[in-house]
């Protein structure tokens, strides 16, 4: 059997930025993968939609927020199931140092939201 390198994900347009209410998220299907896309404080963030603590595809429905740690402000999303929180920029779990969500590149272009390869 030969292993072929997977092609890098092309950028995918998923929706118009107006499809995402400020402060909230939507779920997009990117290359068969569920990606949660958030619009928080004027910026876009994209993480996996799957909550690693429960296995359910729900993170795009989480409440976003902010948290100050070590003087630095970071944006977060809390899973709607059991309220585990994640750093939107890094995917790092705030509850368990050993858990980190995949995060994806995002781009806003002429009012369109684009999702790129995993970071």
């Amino acid at each position: 059997m030969t292993f072929l390198p997977s092609p890098p994900l092309p950028w995918t347009r998923v929706c118009s930025v107006s499809d995402i209410l400020p402060g909230s998220g939507v779920c997009a299907l990117v290359g068969g993968v569920q990606v949660a896309v958030f619009r928080v404080a004027g910026a876009l963030y994209a993480t996996a939609n799957r909550d690693p603590f429960t296995g359910a595809n729900v993170l795009s429905r989480g409440l976003t927020g902010s948290d100050v740690q070590g003087g630095a402000l970071r944006y977060t999303v809390a899973s709607p199931l059991l309220k585990h929180r994640f750093d939107l920029a890094t995917g790092q779990s705030l509850d368990d140092p050993g858990v980190r969500l995949p995060v994806y590149a995002t781009r806003l272009e002429g009012g369109d939201v684009w999702i790129g390869s995993p970071i």
């Binding site: 993968v33 799957r50 199931l81």
Partner: protein, 855 residues
């Protein structure tokens, strides 16, 4: 009647024989009613001192020795009471004289308060040197003197006085034993369980207890000194023996004078305190009333007061109605050897048909028992050993025959420790992560200052999340214990409590999250403050929670108007007011469930839950339900959920009011009301309480006189029975009161605080709530009612409103860019319906995450 005295002073002369506690009380009462100018008063005292506090006799061995005297010769001189020292030996009722030594006193009225003498069982050797009784100060002086050369003391008699004497011997440093012929200690007051509890405590103090043992003789040495007690098969060595086996009334003077005696001794008296001679009265332990003698001081005092009144009347010195003694309550509370013992009412359960409930704790050394009426409705009496904290309360219940409103066993449960106290047991807080209270407290001591910090340090609250409220409470308690300032801030983004924020939003008139955050918050909010503010806005303004201004701050249930389940699908609960549903309605729900492949379950609140709905099916499901006449049941919100009911007077043979009708009315009235936590209610058509109304935030129970309103109950982790707020109300009165109650709660409760905790936290509790919403003490009621009226007027079905708005409807799509469904939702079959597959099944079905540059 007053007869002119032949004595020199020509004033009526009253002689009191005996100057114990009761005799002294009598002297006081007589002098209060008749001054020295109107009546001569003479007391005959056999003891060489005036009255002292015999109840406290054992304190004579305390160091420093207390002054037990109740009266001094100086006091009596001031009162102009003559004291004759000596023993009265001859009473002549015909001549109205009494002789002391060689002195003969003439009296117009005489009172016998000669008390009692200790009973000494007729044991061989009972007069030996080293044998004592325990009655007077002289007895105690003699015991003290003997104790100097003694090592072991034995008290014969394990009753009240015996234990008192044993305590005294122990104070004197003697190795002490108590011998009681009955099978247990204090047989007159206690039952065998109570006696056993007392015995454990007494033994734990190092005293020997020998019950069910009757000594046969007292053994002595060649010099006639006590060496011990002989039993049939045993010998108990002792250097000192104290008899304390009961008392006998001192009725010898009366007996010799030919006065009538009680069947079991004592000078017979009537209800006026008179003996068989109209000029002679008796009171205290020497008297027998209705064939009964009283060995307690309280009935003696009562008799003294009665005798004083009637005697003064008979002498023409007082013009009042006669006083009556009609027996006394024998309830008593004492401390023996440091052990609290209480006995009240029918402690021995002699009432026919009575039943008992008891609680025995051999670790705390406590025993308590209630004797109840046959139907359990009233307390008839009881016993308390080791802890008499509830004595007065229980005595009150007994004497007033108050019908019980709580299960009787709860009256025996020890009071819970104050909420501020440190928990004793290391309770398991988080069962998911196996975290105990001690670990949480340690984390707080280690610097954790919020629930998120506790989650990080301990892992508690990161599983199912059910313990998060407990964590919050522990955090507050522990911080307070550490002397930290405990804030009631909603979260790190708002330096206000929910109540403060509620008032700010109301007064400032904010209408959106952005306005509230800009004015009062910081950062971008979080999963705690966002739903809280959303709820406050919904309570105040009644705007749609799914409108664009509010949608992004709603937690998922409110955002999608359904309940999220473990696999990300939702359940739908149509409103079924009062649980009343037509066959057509049932069929419509069934048809919807079948069409969308939903799992059906009747809920605990008389509704039908349709589970397993994909997000994009929700609007379609609602369309069908709305077409069949249903609306949102708000099973998702922190809002009124359900008003449960029984069938009431419409169907039930016991029902006295229309519980279903009222439940329907209330559920429709308060539907959609956003509140600090979910609200549940129940309406029962009679006191059989089939709707379990008292476990609800508000509950109604029908009586023949109207509705009883209960508030502040809930099930759940800390179940609480609701408390009675008002009784016998009409339906309209109920509605008005509930409007006020609910609005007051909505306005003032903390975030996620159920009504039970809110009510407990109200300063003044139920009484305060009653003052505010029943008596309108704060003048708030009109405003509260108006707030509720505004809510009711603004109500609209959220499902229908969401369907009507294409923008809202679009949010229900699973993917913003595709028509597929969530392939993570996997069903398995169980008992003929679907249920979510467990995690491993799902994981195996998931596509691998493509990794950048990976292979």
């Amino acid at each position: 009647m007053f007869t002119p005295s032949l004595s020199a002073a020509s004033l009526p002369h009253v002689v009191v024989v005996g100057n114990g506690m009761v005799g002294h009380r009598l002297v006081q009462r007589l002098r209060e009613g008749a001054a020295a100018q109107t009546m001569r008063l003479t007391v005959i005292s056999e003891e060489p001192c005036l009255a002292y506090d015999r109840v406290q006799l054992s304190r004579q061995f305390d160091d420093p020795r207390p002054d037990l005297a109740l009266a001094s010769p100086d006091d009596y001189a001031v009162l102009e009471v003559a004291v004759v020292w000596g023993r009265a030996h001859t009473l002549n009722p015909a001549a109205r004289t009494v002789a002391v030594g060689d002195l003969t006193l003439h009296y117009d009225a005489l009172v016998l308060t000669t008390g009692s003498v200790p009973f000494v069982p007729p044991l061989p050797g009972r007069d030996a040197a080293g044998c004592f009784v325990y009655r007077t100060l002289a007895d105690l002086d003699a015991i003290r003197a003997a104790a100097h050369t003694a090592h072991t003391g034995v008290v014969i008699g394990g009753g009240l006085l015996g234990l008192e004497a044993a305590g005294a011997l122990r104070k004197l440093g003697l190795q002490t034993h108590v011998v009681e012929a009955a099978p247990h200690l204090m047989p007159a007051q206690l039952d065998s369980e109570g006696g056993a509890a007392l015995r454990r405590t007494v033994e734990a103090m190092g005293l020997g207890v020998h019950t069910g043992r009757a000594p046969q003789a007292i053994t002595t040495d060649g010099a006639g000194r006590v060496t011990g007690l002989r039993f049939a098969d045993d010998h108990l060595p002792a250097d000192l023996i104290v008899f304390s086996a009961g008392i006998r009334p001192r009725d010898d003077l009366a007996r010799a004078a030919g006065l009538a005696l009680g069947e079991r001794g004592g000078v017979k008296i009537d209800d006026l305190g008179r003996t068989s001679d109209p000029h002679i009265y008796a009171a205290g332990e020497c008297a027998a009333h209705a064939g009964r003698t009283y060995g307690l001081v309280a009935p003696g005092y009562r008799m003294a007061a009665v005798v004083a009144t009637n005697l003064l009347r008979d002498l023409g010195l007082l013009n009042t109605a006669p006083a009556l003694f009609q027996g006394a309550d024998l309830s008593t509370k004492l401390k023996l050897l440091g052990v609290e013992v209480g006995s009240f009412g029918d402690a021995h359960g002699q009432t026919p048909g009575c039943r008992t409930v008891s609680l025995s704790d051999n670790v705390r050394g406590t025993y308590s028992k209630l004797v109840l009426a046959e139907d359990g409705s009233r307390v008839l009496g009881g016993l308390l050993v080791g802890d008499t904290a509830r004595y007065s309360e229980l005595l009150d219940l007994t004497l007033s025959a108050t019908p019980l409103t709580a299960p009787p066993e709860t009256l025996l449960v020890p009071a819970l420790p104050a909420s501020g106290a440190l928990p004793q047991a290391d309770t398991l807080v988080c069962s998911c992560e196996n975290v105990r209270e001690s670990a949480v407290c340690a984390a707080v001591q280690g610097g954790a200052r919020d629930v998120a910090g506790l989650k990080r340090c301990t892992g508690a609250g990161t599983g199912c999340g059910g313990c998060v409220p407990t964590l919050h409470g522990l955090l507050q308690t522990e911080l307070r214990r550490l002397g930290q300032v405990v804030t009631n801030h909603l979260c790190g983004h708002y330096a206000h409590s929910r109540q403060e924020l509620f008032d700010l939003i109301r007064v400032r008139g904010h209408r959106t999250w952005d306005e509230v955050l800009a004015a009062h918050g910081s950062g971008h909010g979080c999963e705690i403050c966002k739903p809280a503010v959303a709820s406050i806005l919904a309570s105040l303004h009644g705007e749609l929670v799914v409108s664009p201004a509010h949608a992004a701050v709603q937690d998922t249930n409110d955002a999608f108007l359904a309940n999220i389940q473990k696999n990300g699908t939702y359940s739908v609960v149509p409103r079924v007011p009062g649980g009343e549903i037509t066959p057509a309605g049932l069929m419509a729900i069934g048809a919807v469930a079948q069409k969308y492949g939903l799992y059906c379950k009747l809920t605990g609140g008389q509704r039908i839950d349709l589970l397993g709905a994909h997000r994009d099916d929700l609007p379609l499901i609602w369309e069908d339900l709305i077409a069949a006449g249903f609306e949102s049941g708000h099973a998702y919100g922190k809002s009124l959920r359900t008003v449960k009911s029984c069938v009431g007077s419409a169907w039930c043979r016991y029902g006295v009011q229309d519980s279903t009708g009222l439940a329907v009315r209330l559920e429709l009235r308060y539907r959609g009301l956003r509140s600090p936590h979910k609200l549940k209610s129940g309406v029962s058509g009679c006191t059989r309480e089939c709707a379990e109304a008292r476990s609800k935030d508000f509950g109604l129970i029908a009586t023949e006189h109207g509705w009883n309103v209960y508030v502040g109950g809930n099930g759940g982790v800390t179940p609480k029975h609701a408390l009675l707020l008002a009784e016998g109300l009409s339906e309209d009165e109920v509605v008005r009161l509930l409007d006020r109650y609910l609005m007051f709660y909505v306005r003032t409760a903390d975030r996620l605080q159920r009504t039970s905790a809110w009510l407990e936290g109200l300063d003044g509790g139920l009484a305060y709530l009653r003052r505010v919403i029943v008596d309108d003490h704060l003048g708030l009621c009109a405003e509260l009612e108006a707030d509720m009226a505004r809510h009711i007027a603004s109500y609209q079905d959220e499902w229908a409103a969401a369907l009507a708005d294409p923008g809202v409807r679009a949010r229900f799509r699973t993917f913003v860019n595709a028509e597929e469904r969530d392939d993570g939702v996997v069903w398995v079959d169980e008992r003929g319906q679907i249920r979510p597959a467990e995690l491993p099944d799902i994981l195996s079905g998931l596509p691998q995450l493509p990794l950048h540059g990976g292979d």
